[in-house]
Symmetry: C2
Subunit: 415 residues, 2 copies
């Protein structure tokens, strides 16, 4: 019997061959297959529910939390959402083949830079079974072959989804799911840089750290969002309150939720009580620096650790700063370079903030919650990258492509 | 006394702070400093020659080969070339600040994607001391802080060059050279992903492999060039001979030199003797597949290993293929995805080759030697990337940048 290593390497070889076939498909051919995938998902609702029931039963036995069981659960509405998501991807423009740049050299050679698929992509993810469809479909749309490795809790659901997709006329080995859920399979996948061009871990910090330490190929990381809002001295205070509340409470368990509020000292005495009232009304716990606690006397102190924490909860740390420079320095030091906002009426101050804050998304007078592929208009999102190489911030289809230089001449030689 | 680890981490912290200062410089300010760097190099010729003499003496004592000693050597002409290179970089357009894309969403938020510096870049390189100036200058032009770690053979030269650059008014810690040359310093540098956004190894395969296995941050790799030329059945045979000879012999020790010639069987009997005559006249040793050796009876056989070898020497492997498909399959299997050429008069066949060969540069009727940042018109080159993420093929200034989304609104919240 083949070892785990042999099986996964064989899948790698197959993915590489499949990638060359995928690269030849036209956009129309890919979209036809995508619509067939959506149909296959809709036709297999009973099978998908049956497979998911096994995972849920096993999860209950293992004592998974209610939140974990909810992430694992498939129901008819969630399966329909998965299918509708695939139909939606079929309608998006295909970035592959786009000419990014073209020029001619004095010697007559013509150079084109053209978008091409990356090739083969490994996706390592945790409990949500819908990632199986989401990730595979975005990679397929961009002509990439995928090898998926989901969490053990969702193995039956994942296998059933992958089977449904494969049955829809997807070219052989274009979408493969690793049937093993032990740790060795992650190590094998992360080590085979001859077969995988990229690996994307989707899950918690522990998973990402593990993949980063093992991977020999590029990894696109989706780390924490420690997002800030800076209420400048020239802020429209009503707007600053509204954006703070929306950024913190619209959905607090996500990476683009607000974690720290910075307030210019000149407006602190006026602004902080109004902000606190609005935040308390939404059950947000505040933790303040010393100066904040001189104004909001009933809140608990923020420690050094609070400035580095992604709460993912209804908690907000609050700090008074003396200047724009101090706000920028705090964000660049303690933030996670994800998404940060300034609220101000002063355009020049806003422009300095946008230029000097070293984050993927910098906002002027907008809620942090707009740091999102859907809100950016990308139509689909594979995640929000906290890397600076290749893809930064919301990643859509474009970020799942590479490029190639195509050069045409008439016999030019170098002398 | 500080340990190596403490010293290098301190350099990392300093590089991060320097990067924030560099990002604020205007293009004019950077260019003024670049010209001052070139002057400083020119003013310090005696010091540079003195430092280099120490390295050369130590290298002789260690028994370095003549080729290694030549790579290590600085003379007045090479120092002037280094200074002229810096002046040249000052004249190039600055990619930082360029708006790559801009759009408005239905809710009125305005999104801009803007080129920004990557931040902090580690460069690990081997014996050539000019890399100290070249790499630091390209990174500086694009607003990145660098930490350089050169080879032990060139340590005196590298320190003298770095000192000259720093004395020219470069912002503090923007260019730092690690004074240690042991292996531990590579491991420390590759491990500190909190301080370095990117690491670029410049050197042999062994060095790159070591960095890849240690690095936690993205690595841009410049691996082998196993480049192919495919003489199609509809090739202009005189052009195919000329391009083969130029690609192989113009400079055979570089990554864009030709290593394998593929010939369509329909022209093999006619073409191969002409190609062999021209190549033998340039002292190229040929190694052929069985069918090739039926035509060129006096050449030695090529083994499986030859198809995977970057000779970097006057050796060429030769194989007869039955079709375009076979040529593409051979290149995708054995090549290094660097640069490959088709010679043909048939435009449709050429277009299929360009689309189906999975290499950074694909050429129609052009010598492989044009796979080069200078020949592409980039003005400067940090290397030729064999990666598919972020930078593929010749890397100029543009590839030393990242981007940031700047979003402007008037109080938009998500509901």
């Amino acid at each position: 019997m083949a070892t785990i290593q042999e099986t996964i390497h064989q899948m790698g070889r197959q993915a590489r061959a499949a990638a060359y076939n995928l690269a030849k498909l036209t956009s129309d051919e890919k979209n036809t297959i995508l619509r067939a995938m959506a149909s296959a998902i809709r036709q297999r609702v009973p099978e998908l529910l049956g497979a998911n029931a096994k995972d849920i039963a096993a999860g209950r036995e293992k004592g998974l939390s209610a939140a974990m069981l909810d992430r694992l659960l498939l129901d008819e509405a969630r399966i329909e959402a998965m299918a509708a998501g695939i139909d939606q991807v079929a309608t998006l423009p295909d970035p592959v083949g786009l000419v990014l740049d073209a020029w001619e050299r004095p010697n007559g050679i013509k150079i084109e830079q053209v978008r091409v698929p990356i090739g083969t992509i490994g996706i390592i993810y945790e409990s949500r079974p819908n990632v199986t469809a989401d990730a595979a479909v975005l990679c397929f749309k961009t002509g990439n072959a995928t090898i998926l490795r989901g969490g053990s809790e969702a193995i039956h659901s994942n296998l059933a989804i992958a089977e449904a997709l494969a049955a829809a006329g997807v070219p052989e080995h274009a979408i493969q799911l690793i049937p093993f859920t032990d740790r060795e399979s992650v190590a094998v996948l992360a080590g085979m840089d001859q077969w995988l061009d990229l690996i994307i871990p989707r899950g918690g910090k522990g998973l990402i750290e593990t993949v980063v330490s093992l991977a020999r190929m590029p990894v696109i990381k989706h780390y924490d969002g420690i997002c800030h809002l800076f209420a400048d001295k020239d802020a429209d205070q009503a707007m600053a309150v509204s954006l703070t509340v929306n950024s913190k409470t619209h959905k607090c368990g996500v990476c683009n939720a607000l974690e720290t509020l910075l307030v210019h000292r000149e407006i602190a005495a006026d602004f902080l009580p109004k902000a606190a009232t609005a935040l308390h009304a939404k059950n947000v716990e505040l933790r303040g620096c010393e100066r904040t606690r001189e104004i909001l006397t009933d809140i608990i102190p923020a420690t050094e650790n609070d400035w580095c924490t992604e709460y993912l909860d209804l908690i907000l740390s609050v700090k008074i700063v003396d200047s724009l420079e101090d706000a920028v320095a705090h964000i660049n030091r303690y933030g996670s370079h994800h998404s940060d906002v300034i609220v101000t009426r002063d355009e020049a101050v806003a422009e300095r903030f946008l230029r000097e804050v070293d984050s993927a998304c910098v906002f002027h007078n907008v809620s942090t919650r707009f740091a999102d592929g859907g809100e950016f208009g990308f139509g689909a999102e594979i995640g929000i990258s906290t890397d600076k190489l290749h893809a930064r911030g919301p990643m859509g289809l474009r970020e799942l492509t590479s490029y190639q230089y195509r050069v045409r001449g008439n016999g030019q030689t170098r002398s």
